[in-house]
Structure formats: structure tokens, C-alpha cells
């Protein structure tokens, strides 16, 4: 820090710099001009190297070249291959890589690079290989493959490494070529040069990564042999853990295969390998305390290392372990505590949060004292981590809420940014919810906070909570002052939510009502519309003396909207004012899967994020298409009288791919009808189809009678069109059936060159695949946010339990997947994922059956040593008949 130039001298410094900098005042156009010297007959190698350096400097600073400029520079650069200057040649290699020429330009340098690839100078060869593999495409690769294969086993490590690394890159685009090098790569793995071994191992693993047996063989061979390179050893540890996670523990002795190897790596001479092995052990699934001990011991040694990197790596890993095995980490507590004062604040924060996880009830007070000192000098982002750790600590030791709540309210009063404050407020809100004793003190802390809170979002959130919880406390009147102060002092948004909070006090606490009415009346003169509106509304609700009216007011004030806000917003946006009133029941209730934040280990975070994103995208798409379908069907007069659309299935293909006509069908389920939407595409350019209709014959089932159909007048090539057929069925019934479908149409020949159709044509028909109406068509995927509550709230009389045998299965995941697919219900709380090697598992499903009947399913599966799977299926529904139907689905 001391040697950094003081801020005052900044301007002088810039001047100084620019005087010395060789790139002072550099300009792209001027450098491009200079680059013309590449074309000189007598090349000045030094000057050319300088110009290339300048060009690379520009690129490095983020300057971009236009297509023309890049082409020009590239062609000029290729001329420089004439020079024999070593330094210049190296710069040329880098330049070509940076420009990454297009495929038609590559051909210009190919021969020069191929010459270098066979040069006597090893460094030329290595670099030429790397450049060529970077810019080449598949076609050229065939020509140079022979050289590359040889290079892999070259005696010079730089050449061999270059070929191997290029192989790793090429494997993405040209796997079949690289896979042919298997023997050479295997030889490279045995190389004496450390880095060659590393690159060879990486490539060999990539080549074989889909072959479990080969991988296992590779690992067991190498763990017995010698690996010279620490980097290669780290890789080997990673691959070993992969093999371990796939094979599971040895059932006879309970020993884990390869655990001995990991343990032996803890005694390796380099820190890199020791750490990799320790981390691998802590991440083994279902690791035992006995297996953990040696790994924890070496990590503990790292904690007192002089190198920050080692301390950080160790404390970060121990922090993760503390989530699942707090006792195992408790041994390190003394070392951890000394890290609280570490210069590196990342290390200090990790140490504190680890201590918070491993500490017992008696150490909480002492820890809090240390943390208070620590909090003043760390950045907000670290503080947030600490606040989150304290929240989980408080939930773990509810008796300690007093000290922890005090701590939170203290830091709430200090300076801090929005995210930090929000995390504190969120923590207090959670504690109030989870620990009833903490409610009163928590509320008063929050009241104090909003007296001086600069964040509108937090104020409104707290006011809302006060309105809900305040009236239920022993002395509600003390909160009124805080709430009304907001009406006087704050901005319109906060004022409006304060008015709502006041009204809730008035609705619940009869004794306070007259006083609340006075306060609300004062709000009638507010200068904001929303505030006045709310005050007027609440006044009229509350001043009605009738008992029934009061109940209604309470219901209005306290009843939560039982639809997700996001969906409501969407529905309101798409609502067009007609004579039909907006129907709240028509808002989709599909809640997005709640994220289980603290359950999952951080290692899976990226994976989870990716999964969540894709899931969200899929759900978003689903609700969009549903709305689109609804709109489409409502616009067709024949189907207008069918009522509200219940469910639309995903499209089912009725033709093979690549046939003349492509047809898929979407099943739209109404209470008393089913509408089939056939999406047809004509792929024959010489034909125009007219009067397209689909004839559906009932093959199985008897409940259906055809009600209406809407043929398609004309279907030219490539333009998708829709044919609709509607069937009537008993209202609310779960009618099953199977239909055979034939497409009938009138064909007219078209002259593809002019696009004119003949006047005459002929009738034809086209057989489509059969279509089934199955029970899942009547079940809507609809999650519940709290499965347990939802389950308890359904009548236990409606429960139907039965046991089934599913026969032999590979694993439970397989069984769960099969059953959930058949039922087509929403998976709750991410219970569809079966932990590795689990012997039993329970999966929770929720859905809504036709006729708005909620149905919940508890699916317990178990597997025995012969891989026989048994399943217990418990179903509860609002209607007992629906419970039976679910069992019927499984039975059929």
C-alpha cells in the first residue's frame, strides 16, 4: 500500500507514464499504415516485430478491427513467414491466433505452418502445431493428423504437450480423429516429463469419459503406478473421486475402493496434491467420520500456514464440511479463532462463519463479542455472509435468540448499503416467523429501524409485517405511533403501506378502532392519490358497525391472494375489457418450484442454477403457450360455449418425421368437452391441399360423441394450419378412449415455378397414427408451496393407500421417474431426485384434477438387494373418487 502513489500525485503520474510509454498516443489507423512495411521486399525484422507488438497492444486494450482491416493485416502478416528472424516468427504466431482468420483465409498460411511443423527447431514445431490446430477446420485436420500423432510421442516435451493440448481442444469439434490417437496418448501418460503426463492424462480421460469400465481401469492402473507431475496427480484424484462416486461402497467390507489412494495422497510432497486429496475426501458422498479425520488434520495444518492461499483454501473447504459434519471440524476451532484477525478479510469471514456453524450453545456469547469487533472493518458483502450465518445459528439454538436478535438490531442501526440492510431485515423476519418468543422484541427492533430507514422497499415490507403481526401482540397500541409517524414523514409509497397497516389494526383490535378512524380521516387530505384512495376505502370498510360488515372487512384486509402475483399480473395484462368480467379463478396457479437454498451443498450450485434456469424457461414457455391456446380457442365461435379451458397437452406427433404431411395434435380438455387441435403442415411443394378435415373414429371407449369440427380451407406448402375437432363427454368425468385418425383433403397440383394451382384436383386421404385420451390428460400439474400443510389440510378420509411391486429396476431413480411420468403431476420440493445408492425414497406429487379437485400423492419406493422395487402409493384428494382414479391409472 505504502508504495502506491498517493492520490494527489495522480495527474503528474499520468504525464510521467506517457512520456516513457512506447505506446503513448498510439492510434489504430497510424499503426495499420505502418503495417504496410510487412509488404516490403527487404523485410526489416525488428521494425516488423515492433509493429506487430503495437497491433497486439491495440487488440489487448480492447480495440477491434473491421473485417477489411483484419483481412488486410492477416494477409500482410503471412508475408512475414519469409523472414528467418526467431523473435518475429513468434510474434507472427501470436498475431495469427489473435486475428483468427476465416476458413477461406486459413489456406494461405497452412503451407507455411506445415513447414514449421516439420522444422528442426522444436519450439517452431510446438508453436506451429498450436496455431494450426487453433485455426484449422476438420478437412485440413485429416492432412496433418499423421504429424500430430507423431508429435504426441515426440521426445521433446514442448512438442508433445502442444500436440496433446491441441488434441483436447480438437476433441470438441473433431472427436473421431482425436480418438484415433489413443495409443500414442497412452504412451504420453507414461512420459517422464511432468507436464506431458498431465496433458496426456487429461486427453486420455476426455477420450474415454463415456466408458466407465475404461475409466475405472485407467484410474486403478495409475493409482498403483507413479505419477510425477503434481498437476497430473490432482487430475488423477479428481478422476478417482468420479470412479468412487459411480461405484459406491464395497458391500462386503463397507470399505470404499480407492480410499487408500486418496489417503496416501495426503502425504504427498506438494501442497497442491495434499489439498486436492483432502478436498476430494470431504466431498465423498456419505463420508464417515473415520474417513474424514485424516483430511481434516492436514487442512488444520494449512490453517496456520504463512501463505494466504493455503489458509483460504483450507478454511473454505472446512466451511463446507461444517455444513454437514460440524463435529468433525470442531477440532479446528482454536486455529479458526485465530484466523478471525487475519489480514485477508475473505479468510476471516470464512473462519467466522465456520465457527458459527461448529460452535455449541455455550460458545455463542463469546463468539458474538468477537464478531462485533470484526464487523466494523469488513466490506458489506462479507457482512451479508456473516448475517446469514447468524440467522442459521439462531434457528439452530432458538434459546439464544435474545443475544442474536440484539446483535442483529445493533448492526441494523449502523451504516450499510441496501443489500446488507435487506439481509438483516430478512433475517429478523425469518426469526420472527420461526421463533414465537422472538416476535415482540423483533417487532420493536424493526419499529425503531423504520424510524430512520432510507430504503422504501424495506420500510413497506416492515409496515406490512407490522400490520399482520402487530394486532396479535399483547399491546398493539404501542405500534400505532411508529406506523402513523410514517404517514407524516415518508414518501407516498411508504405512506400508502402505512395506511394499510393502520387499517389492519383497526379491523382486528376493536378498542383501537375509534382512534384508528381518526388517524385515517387525517389521511384523506394526503396529496397522493393512492394514499387517499386507500384511506377512503378503509374508512368506509371500518366505519360500518354491522358484525357481518366487519368480518368482511377483516377478510378483505387479511386474506391473501391465493394466486401467484406474477401469474395475476400476466392475466391482467392479457385481459381485454369485454362484457365478461375478469375471473380470478382463471388465473393459472402453477407456482414455480421453490428453491431450497440451504439444503444443497455449494458444489452443486452451478449445476442447480443451470437446472433451475432451464426449468424456469420451460415453465415460462408452458404458461405462455397455454395462454396462447386459450386465446386461440376462445376466438372460435363453435367452442365458445364449452366453458373454461382446463388443460392443454403438449403436442403429440401423429406422423413420422420426414413424411409428406407433418401432423401433431394438442388435446384441449374442457369440463364437458375435448377439443383436438391438429397442427398440419404440407411439405410437398407441388401440392395445394384444400378442405382439409380430420376424421376421427372411436376405437376404444364409449363416452365420446363428436360435437363440432372446423376444417381448414386451404393448406399450401410450408404454411402450418389447424384443423379442430371437438368431442362431447360426460361433464367432469374422466373418460378414456382411443381414436383412429384419417386426414381427408382435396389435392390440387401446383406448378412450383409459377406457384399457380390447377383448377381441378382429386380427393385423397392420409392415415395418421392413433391417439389416446389417458388419465393424465385430466390432471393439471400444479405445485403446492408447502406439501406437508397441504397434505394435512386434506381430509384423511379421502386417503387411499395401496402397495405395488414394480419388478426389477436398475435403481430407484428409474422407478420414480417411470411412475411420475405416468401420473404427469407436479413434483414438489424437488423430491424427484433420488440420492445415490438410497435404499428408499419418498417423492411428493401435486396436481389438480378436472373439476378443480386438488390431489396430492405421496410415493414411497424401496429397493432390495435383488433390485426388486416395491412402491407404496398414498393419495389424498378433495374428492375420494379422484383418489381412486389415481390408483386406477397405476393399475392400468
Amino acid at each position: 500500500m505504502a508504495s502506491l502513489p498517493p492520490a494527489l500525485k495522480k495527474d503528474d503520474d499520468i504525464d510521467d507514464d506517457s512520456e516513457y510509454s512506447p505506446f503513448y498516443g498510439i492510434e489504430k489507423s497510424a499503426v495499420l499504415q505502418e503495417a504496410r512495411c510487412f509488404n516490403d521486399r527487404e523485410l526489416d525484422a525488428r521494425r516488423c516485430a515492433q509493429v506487430i507488438t503495437k497491433l497486439l497492444y491495440l487488440i489487448n486494450q480492447g480495440e477491434t478491427f473491421t473485417k477489411n482491416e483484419a483481412t488486410e493485416v492477416f494477409f500482410a502478416t503471412t508475408k512475414l513467414f519469409q523472414s528467418r528472424d526467431i523473435g518475429l516468427r513468434r510474434m507472427v504466431y501470436i498475431m495469427i491466433k489473435e486475428i483468427s482468420p476465416s476458413s477461406d483465409e486459413v489456406i494461405i498460411v497452412t503451407s507455411s505452418l506445415m513447414k514449421d511443423m516439420n522444422s528442426k527447431t522444436d519450439l517452431y514445431r510446438a508453436n506451429a502445431i498450436r496455431v494450426l490446430c487453433r485455426i484449422t477446420d476438420g478437412g485440413l485436420l485429416g492432412q496433418i493428423e499423421r504429424y500430430l500423432k507423431q508429435a504426441v510421442v515426440d521426445k521433446n516435451p514442448v512438442v508433445s504437450s502442444a500436440a496433446l493440448v491441441s488434441g483436447i481442444h480438437l476433441l470438441q469439434s473433431n472427436p473421431e480423429i482425436v480418438k484415433r490417437w489413443s495409443n500414442e496418448v497412452q504412451e504420453a501418460v507414461q512420459s517422464k516429463a511432468p507436464l506431458v503426463q498431465f496433458h496426456g492424462l487429461a486427453l486420455l480421460h476426455q477420450i474415454r469419459q463415456n466408458d466407465r469400465l475404461a475409466l475405472s481401469k485407467l484410474v486403478s492402473g495409475l493409482t498403483r503406478g507413479t505419477v510425477r507431475s503434481p498437476l497430473a496427480q490432482c487430475l488423477l484424484i479428481r478422476y478417482t473421486s468420479q470412479v468412487i462416486s459411480e461405484s459406491g461402497p464395497n458391500s462386503q467390507t463397507g470399505d470404499r475402493p480407492f480410499y487408500d489412494f486418496l489417503e496416501s495422497c495426503l502425504r504427498h510432497k506438494t501442497d497442491m496434491v495434499i489439498f486436492e486429496a483432502a478436498r476430494a475426501i470431504t466431498e465423498l458422498s456419505g463420508v464417515t467420520a473415520r474417513e474424514l479425520t485424516p483430511a481434516i488434520t492436514v487442512l488444520q495444518l494449512f490453517l496456520s500456514s504463512s501463505k494466504p492461499v493455503l489458509r483460504f483454501a483450507a478454511v473454505r473447504t472446512l466451511n463446507k464440511v461444517a455444513q454437514t459434519h460440524p463435529l468433525a471440524v470442531a477440532n479446528c476451532n482454536v486455529d479458526m479463532e485465530s484466523l478471525i484477525s487475519d489480514q485477508n478479510r475473505s479468510i476471516a469471514t470464512l473462519a467466522i462463519t465456520t465457527l458459527l456453524k461448529t460452535g455449541n450453545e455455550s460458545s455463542v456469547d463469546r463468539l458474538m463479542k468477537q464478531i462485533t469487533n470484526f464487523m466494523s472493518d469488513i466490506a458489506d458483502e462479507f457482512k451479508i455472509v456473516v448475517v446469514e450465518a447468524i440467522r442459521s445459528l439462531c434457528l439452530k439454538f432458538p434459546q439464544k435468540y435474545r443475544a442474536l436478535m440484539n446483535f442483529l438490531s445493533n448492526i441494523l442501526r449502523e451504516e450499510g448499503g441496501f443489500d446488507y440492510k435487506k439481509s438483516i431485515v430478512d433475517s429478523i423476519l425469518i426469526l420472527i416467523r420461526e421463533i414465537p418468543d422472538a416476535k415482540e422484541s423483533g417487532l420493536s427492533h424493526l419499529c425503531e429501524f423504520i424510524e430512520d430507514c432510507e430504503f422504501t422497499y424495506l420500510s413497506t415490507q416492515i409496515l406490512h409485517l407490522l400490520g399482520n403481526e402487530g394486532p396479535k401482540t399483547a399491546d398493539p397500541s404501542k405500534y400505532i405511533r411508529y406506523v402513523y409517524n410514517r404517514v407524516i414523514l415518508e414518501n407516498a409509497t411508504v405512506r400508502a403501506s402505512a395506511v394499510s397497516a393502520l387499517a389492519r389494526f383497526g379491523a382486528v383490535v376493536e378498542g383501537l378502532r375509534p382512534r384508528i378512524l381518526i388517524l385515517l380521516r387525517r389521511c384523506l387530505y394526503d396529496n397522493d392519490d393512492e394514499v387517499r384512495d386507500r384511506a377512503t376505502l378503509y374508512l368506509s370498510l371500518l366505519s360500518d358497525e354491522l358484525e357481518a360488515a366487519q368480518d368482511e372487512a377483516k377478510a378483505f384486509l387479511f386474506q391473501d391472494l391465493d394466486v401467484p402475483l406474477e401469474n395475476l399480473e400476466k392475466s391482467l395484462q392479457s385481459y381485454e375489457p369485454t362484457d365478461r368480467a375478469f375471473d380470478l379463478a382463471a388465473v393459472p396457479r402453477d407456482v414455480k418450484a421453490h428453491q431450497q437454498v440451504e439444503k444443497k451443498a455449494p458444489t452443486g450450485k452451478e449445476k442447480k442454477a443451470a437446472k433451475d434456469a432451464s426449468q424456469k424457461a420451460a415453465e415460462g414457455k408452458a404458461s405462455n403457450t397455454f395462454e396462447a391456446y386459450e386465446k386461440l380457442l376462445n376466438s372460435i365461435p363453435q367452442f365458445a360455449g364449452f366453458g373454461k379451458l382446463f388443460k392443454s397437452s403438449t403436442p403429440v406427433e401423429l406422423t413420422e418425421a420426414e413424411t409428406e404431411y407433418a401432423v401433431n395434435v394438442v388435446k384441449h380438455v374442457y369440463p364437458g368437452h375435448i377439443v383436438f387441435q391438429f397442427n398440419c403442415t404440407n411439405t410437398i411443394a407441388e401440392q395445394l391441399l384444400e378442405n382439409v378435415n380430420i376424421v376421427m373414429d372411436l376405437v376404444e371407449g364409449e363416452d365420446f360423441t363428436q360435437a363440432a369440427s372446423k376444417p381448414l380451407a386451404s393448406m399450401p406448402c410450408g404454411v402450418p394450419g389447424q384443423v379442430f375437432v371437438a368431442f362431447e363427454k360426460p361433464e367432469g368425468a374422466c373418460s378414456l378412449g382411443r381414436f383412429s385418425n384419417t386426414m381427408r383433403f382435396y389435392v390440387k397440383e401446383v406448378d412450383p415455378s409459377t406457384g399457380d394451382a390447377d383448377d381441378t384436383g382429386y380427393e385423397d386421404e392420409y392415415q395418421l397414427e392413433d391417439l389416446e385420451i389417458t388419465a393424465p390428460d385430466y390432471i393439471l400439474k400444479e405445485g403446492v408451496s408447502n406439501f406437508r400443510n397441504a397434505w394435512e389440510s386434506l381430509d384423511s378420509e379421502s386417503e387411499r393407500v395401496d402397495e405395488y411391486s414394480l419388478g426389477a429396476r436398475e435403481n430407484l431413480q428409474d422407478a420414480v421417474q417411470a411412475v411420475t411420468t405416468i401420473l404427469g403431476m407436479q413434483i414438489c420440493e424437488a423430491t424427484d431426485v433420488v440420492p445415490n445408492n438410497a435404499r428408499s425414497h419418498t417423492c411428493l406429487l401435486a396436481g389438480r384434477f378436472l373439476g378443480d379437485t386438488q390431489v396430492l400423492v405421496r410415493l414411497s419406493v424401496g429397493i432390495d438387494s435383488q433390485k426388486q422395487v416395491a412402491m407404496k402409493l398414498a393419495v389424498r384428494a378433495e374428492d375420494i373418487a379422484v383418489s381412486d382414479i389415481i390408483h386406477d391409472i397405476i393399475n392400468s
Partner: protein
């Protein structure tokens, strides 16, 4: 309670939509898997000056598309680290979800970034290799002025340390000698070179750069 044998097999779930659902999931899993056991990858190597301005950078990952995202990342790590004393030993932090190892010397800030789950010590080894190789090549006169005057050496250094994110070499002596193209003209294999030879090469190169 009766126990019935039922066949929950694909034949029961005939709808094609359902089938494609399953295949989608399995693809997802395999992708995650290869992702987890990957080779150590370096996301970027960054060299900033005392005001956080770019001196030399090399990105190997698409995590920061476009110049503005890259500059934002550089700014973010600079503001979060420039007050720390990473001079004698390399320091480390988890910044913006990445492992960043850094070391400062005079008016220069060296950074190497790795993924969140990367082995911290491997990332630190790359940084040390880069730092030491540059020191060797510039004969311990490492400051912004010298770096800019020998910009070609820095670029070659970066080129020899990491190739497309994969670590090529971490031994500073080997890196320095490869940058100096020792052994390009005569046939002495690199592995047989001694450290003093490599140093001599660096010296020679340095002298030449002074004459420029």
C-alpha cells in the same frame, strides 16, 4: 393390503411428449457430469497498473462476453483488492463468484482467475509461474514502464503459460527460456538447459531490448 405386479414400463407412457421429457433430463445429467470432473482451467490472466488500468490481459473463457463485461470485471477485482498488501505473498479471494489469486509488485497488479470450484493452489501456481517468468525476463526490474517496453515478452509469456484455458507450463524457468527461444538455433534440448543458461538468455534479451 394386496401386492400386485404391475408393469410400469415405457409402453404405458406412450405419449411422445413424455418420452422426450426423459431424454432431456438424461442429457442434462451427462452434461453436468463432464463439467464437474474437468481439467483445471484458467479463466483469465490480468495485469493492471496502479490505477486499475489494463496493461495486458488474456481471457480464455466466454464468461465475460464483450469488452465492457471484461472491463467491469477488471474494475471490480481491482477495487476489491488494491488496498490489500499482496506484495510478499500472493493473496486470494472469492470475487464475483470466481477464485482470484493476485500479487502486486511496484505499480503492477497481477491477477489469475479460476472457476469457483477450482483448486486454489493450482490457480496460485499459475500466478506464481507468470510472475516469476516475467521477473526473470525483465531481470527483476518489473514495473509498468519496463513491461510496456517489453510488451512482446509479456505476450509470449502469456502464450507459453496457458493455451485456451489449459495450463501449459508453470515452471518460471522453463517459461522464460521458451519465451527467449533458447534452443531455437542450436540443438540443445530445453530439458537439458540449466537455470543459469535460461537466466543468461533472459539477460541477453534484456540487453537487446535496452538497445532498441
Amino acid at each position: 393390503m394386496t401386492c400386485r405386479q404391475i408393469g410400469v414400463n415405457p409402453a404405458c407412457s406412450r405419449t411422445k411428449g413424455a418420452r422426450s421429457g426423459i431424454s432431456l433430463r438424461s442429457v442434462g445429467f451427462s452434461w453436468c457430469f463432464s463439467f464437474e470432473v474437468s481439467i483445471s482451467l484458467v479463466k483469465n490472466v490480468i495485469l493492471l497498473d496502479s490505477e486499475g488500468k489494463r496493461v495486458a490481459v488474456k481471457y480464455f473463457s466466454d464468461d465475460w462476453p464483450g469488452l465492457s463485461a471484461k472491463l467491469a470485471f477488471e474494475k471490480s477485482i481491482f477495487t476489491k483488492t488494491h488496498r490489500t498488501g499482496a506484495r510478499s505473498e500472493a493473496e486470494i479471494g472469492l470475487l464475483d463468484g470466481y477464485i482470484v489469486v493476485y500479487k502486486f509488485i511496484s505499480d503492477l497488479h497481477f491477477y489469475v482467475t479460476g472457476g469457483e470450484d477450482e483448486n486454489e493452489i493450482i490457480v496460485a501456481t499459475v500466478l506464481q509461474g507468470f510472475f516469476d517468468a516475467v521477473s526473470l525476463l525483465l531481470r527483476n526490474n518489473v514495473d509498468k514502464k519496463n513491461i510496456l517496453e517489453n510488451f512482446d515478452l509479456v505476450l509470449l509469456c502469456l502464450d507459453e503459460i496457458v493455451d485456451g484455458g489449459i495450463i501449459l507450463e508453470t515452471d518460471a524457468n522453463v517459461i522464460a527460456s521458451r519465451v527467449a527461444m533458447r534452443g531455437a538455433n542450436d540443438d540443445v534440448p530445453l530439458s537439458e538447459q540449466t537455470i543459469s543458461q535460461a537466466l543468461a538468455t533472459a539477460k541477453e534479451h534484456f540487453a537487446r531490448s535496452l538497445l532498441k
